[in-house]
């Protein structure tokens, strides 16, 4: 076992050399994998992507302005209606019905008790061979949560401040999520106003437990809930004018 000193030294050097070679090999492998998905490579391979991203940001900016203008114009319409209330009994009655319809349809800001649900992408490391999209919040997760809330008696729901109304869709483009007209990013905060026990009913509802509830458990999606005594949800801001549907008078 104990050979000459030069032989022991050679063996030790060989051991180090093997260790370093292995380390460098792993470094090379990981480095190559990193290069394949690195920002540097993206910039190198797709300057068109930057142009497209710029267009998305510009459209989002335009949308914020349009929504702001719509909110201001709607407020002005309501001011006209409120001013006219004092001038005629018929108008006053009409405006009362109008306020009730706005409240029922999600076109008025509301406050009340309810539940807050937050969901975000999993923080777990994606194991090799697993689909990374399993570990992020998908549009189906949000749909299931909203369905469970409505089924549990919610009267008003928002996702990241977007009020859901009769025309609202929750739409996925790849991993991106659009609600109404807005492009939303995680974490997603869903707020709902509803009768007492809303959160308990939600957590037991099949629409929640059936799919998103299992994904939270299996893939570790970040998830938190809280009951609240007082939530304030904004009114829907967007187009409420029909192009194709024409109201029919009940009597007609």
């Amino acid at each position: 076992m104990t050979g000459p000193a030069w032989a022991r030294s050679l063996t030790a050097r060989r051991g180090w050399a093997v260790s370093i070679a292995a380390g460098l090999a792993v470094t090379g492998f990981v480095g190559a994998a990193q290069w394949n998905s690195s920002v540097t490579r993206e910039a190198f391979t797709s300057s068109a992507q930057q142009v497209l991203a710029g267009q998305v940001l510009e459209l989002e900016r335009e949308q914020r302005e349009l929504r702001q203008q719509i909110a201001e114009a709607e407020a002005e319409v309501q001011r006209f209606q409120e001013e006219s209330t004092s001038s005629s009994a018929a108008l006053a009655q009409l405006n009362e019905r109008l306020a009730a319809a706005r409240l029922a349809g999600g076109l008025a800001a509301v406050r009340g008790p309810g539940a807050v649900i937050e969901i975000a992408d999993s923080q777990r490391v994606v194991p090799p061979g697993e689909n990374p999209s399993s570990f992020i919040v998908l549009v189906d997760d949000l749909r299931d949560i909203v369905a469970a809330l409505w089924a549990s008696g919610a009267e008003a729901v928002t996702i990241n401040g977007e009020r859901l109304v009769a025309s609202s869709s929750i739409y996925g483009v790849g991993a991106s999520v659009l609600v109404n007209t807005a492009f939303l990013s995680p974490p997603f905060r869903i707020e709902a106003i509803g009768p007492e026990g809303l959160l308990d009913r939600f957590l037991l509802n099949d629409a929640f437990r059936g799919r998103v509830g299992q994904r939270i458990e299996f893939f570790g999606l970040e998830f938190a809930t809280a009951a609240s005594d007082e939530l304030t949800l904004p009114a829907f801001i967007g187009n409420t004018r029909f192009r194709w549907a024409v109201p029919v008078d009940e009597a007609g």
Partner: protein
């Protein structure tokens, strides 16, 4: 001396591996910056956002027209009454509290759709631009959701059988194209749920008002 150098080298290599691994793991997460989204996804986003912005511009023009009518009418008299009455008709129709009619599409569904599938179908129609919808004679409101009842699917407290009709008012061509596109909702449902869905355009659809009261019981208006 040589051993220390080798240890330092190994430490450096290990550190580098660690840093690269962190970078690699980060790159697997959802892109948080728009610029890091795939080009195809960005193109789809541009198309969708452009369409939504066009709708918003049309809506804004309509509100401004209404404001012009109010200004012309003054704050009292028959004209102001007419403008407000028209606004009430519009908002009750939007909220599904009044019947509506117009062009659109009719989907005849035959098969055991589950609640998720029916909710997805309704969501897809909304996304395609449907302005008003009904499942059989149940007008869909923002609070309507299909759930699995003891015997059948239930929407707003009403049972929905295995064969039912979904009716939607909107651009007939646009709605039909979205529903029938390859890989779209109809082909997905037919493939995975063994359902048959026949879609057709219709020139004249009339949808009833919701049978439910949408007046909130606990939500109060913010003054």
């Amino acid at each position: 001396m040589g051993t220390r150098l080798a240890q330092a080298s190994l430490f450096g290599v290990a550190l580098l591996i660690g840093l690269l691994l962190v970078g690699q793991l980060r790159s697997q997460a959802r892109p948080t910056e728009i610029s890091s989204l795939p080009a195809q996804e960005l193109s789809q986003l541009i198309e969708t956002l452009s369409n939504r912005n066009r709708e918003l511009r049309i809506g804004l023009a309509d509100i401004r027209e209404q404001l012009r009518e109010y200004r012309a009418a003054g704050s009292q008299g028959q004209s102001a009454l007419d403008v407000t009455r028209e606004d009430l008709r519009r908002i009750t129709a939007f909220a599904a509290m009044a019947p509506v009619q117009g062009q659109g599409i009719i989907l005849e569904v035959d098969g055991r759709l589950d609640a998720i599938a029916l909710n997805d179908l309704i969501n897809e129609l909304r996304n395609a631009g449907a302005e008003a919808m009904a499942v059989d004679s149940i007008r869909i409101t923002h609070r309507s959701v299909a759930t699995q009842g003891p015997i059948a699917l239930v929407i707003d407290g009403v049972d929905v059988g295995e064969r039912f009709t979904v009716t939607a008012i909107g651009s007939p061509e646009g709605l039909l194209a979205t529903m029938e596109r390859p890989g779209g909702i109809i082909s997905q449902l037919e493939q995975f749920i063994n359902a048959t869905i026949v879609a057709r355009q219709s020139e004249q659809i009339t949808l009833p008002a919701t049978g439910l009261s949408l007046a909130p019981a606990v939500a109060q208006p913010v003054e």
